[in-house]
Amino acid sequence: MANLKDLRNRIASVTSTQKITKAMKMVSASKLKRAQDAAEAARPYAERMESVLSSLASSMKGQTGGPKLLAGSGADQKQLVVVATSERGLCGGFNTNIIKAAKLKINALIRDGKDVTIITIGKKGAGVLKRDYADKMVEHFDLSHVKNLKFDDASPIGYRLIEKFDAGDFDVCTLFFAKFINVLTQVVTPLQLIPASINTQGGTDLGRACYDYEPDENEILEDLLPRNVRVQLFRALLENAASEQGSRMTAMDSATRNAGEMIDSLRTTYNRTRQAVITNELIEIISGAEAL
């Protein structure tokens, strides 16, 4: 028979766990709001950037010898995979999903005989990937000191990527992050950062041929493309932050509910056991009295 004291202890411990998960849920709910606002505020910039770039890129289409960041280095042998995960755990399947998708891609690339290198952003992904690909991981960016992601936090990473690209360390760079759809759904998305994946089919830009460019198109593209890498990265990291909070909120919500169910069932067991003990004692007293 389960000991009464043990049961009491278990109830106490599950209750305090529930308190923690509940608090975590509240905290991520408020953080989610902020992260979502930030992601939304960043949207106009990225969208405008994209529309200008796509109109520039479509006017450059067909010409050879465009900027490398757009046209690529002409090879795809050296692949860089950037995996953006969270700095903290306890956020449901968030990190696992990103890592799973990244691993799939990495394994496929290795099978194809490509040279793969990995850069991680965020502690959680680095820890897991190190187990399988320790020899391929070249760099890690720690954002644990960052509370609210600013553009200044993301741009050094972007600069570093461009530096590495210019040095010929990789030909294609793909970023893995979780796109925020809503609190319940986050979709892991691979985004090709370099060469820039720009929609050159922008049909809206027919009237744009009459633009004056100052300086000329090429120079503007040279200026914009590195900027675009940083902006895309920044945007992805913001989405990631929102996804992390959303995922944590859902996870903590279900953890709180599970803890509640567990407490209920433990309490029932506890009460039954308590009654059984009382009944037992009574039987002992009565049968003792009868024996006299």
Binding site: F151, E214, P215
Partner: protein, 137 residues
């Protein structure tokens, strides 16, 4: 003037401004240019400098911008700036302090790579300070 120019100033972090104004003076890489309503479509990169927003009578509103580009289309003027802040809120002393820090960092830099990066950051601050000095004078 009945005609107004629709002006938007966007930073990576947020939409800073979205109003109708009379004229905006933009610090382009190849020189400042004023944008009035009905301006011909143009795309230009920016240098570190001051955007002047003229609206109605009175002094122009001035904003510090660092890097980015401007796009004029029939809908109006859009400036995408890496960094922008109203001149009145810019704290010159903090930049001076940052410059001093960076100069020390450059002197202490161990390898060429980080040195180059620090020098770039330093030059950036210097150009901001230059702009600030010119406008303070």
């Amino acid at each position: 003037m009945a005609d107004k120019l629709h002006f938007e100033l966007v930073c990576p972090e947020k939409l800073l401004m979205s109003t109708d104004v009379d004229m905006v003076v933009v610090p382009g890489t190849e020189g400042d240019f004023g944008v009035l309503p009905q301006h011909a479509p143009v795309v230009s990169t920016l240098r570190t400098g001051i955007i002047e927003v003229h609206n109605g009578a009175g002094d122009a509103e001035k904003l510090l911008v660092v890097g980015g580009f401007a796009e004029v289309n029939p809908q109006g003027l859009t400036i995408l700036a890496e960094f922008a802040k109203p001149l009145s809120e810019v704290d010159k002393t903090s930049y001076e302090a940052e410059l001093k820090d960076l100069q020390e960092d450059v002197a202490d830099a161990k390898d060429e790579e980080s040195k180059a990066r620090l020098i770039k950051a330093r030059d950036n601050i210097i150009s901001i300070l230059e702009v600030l000095n010119r406008f303070a004078a």
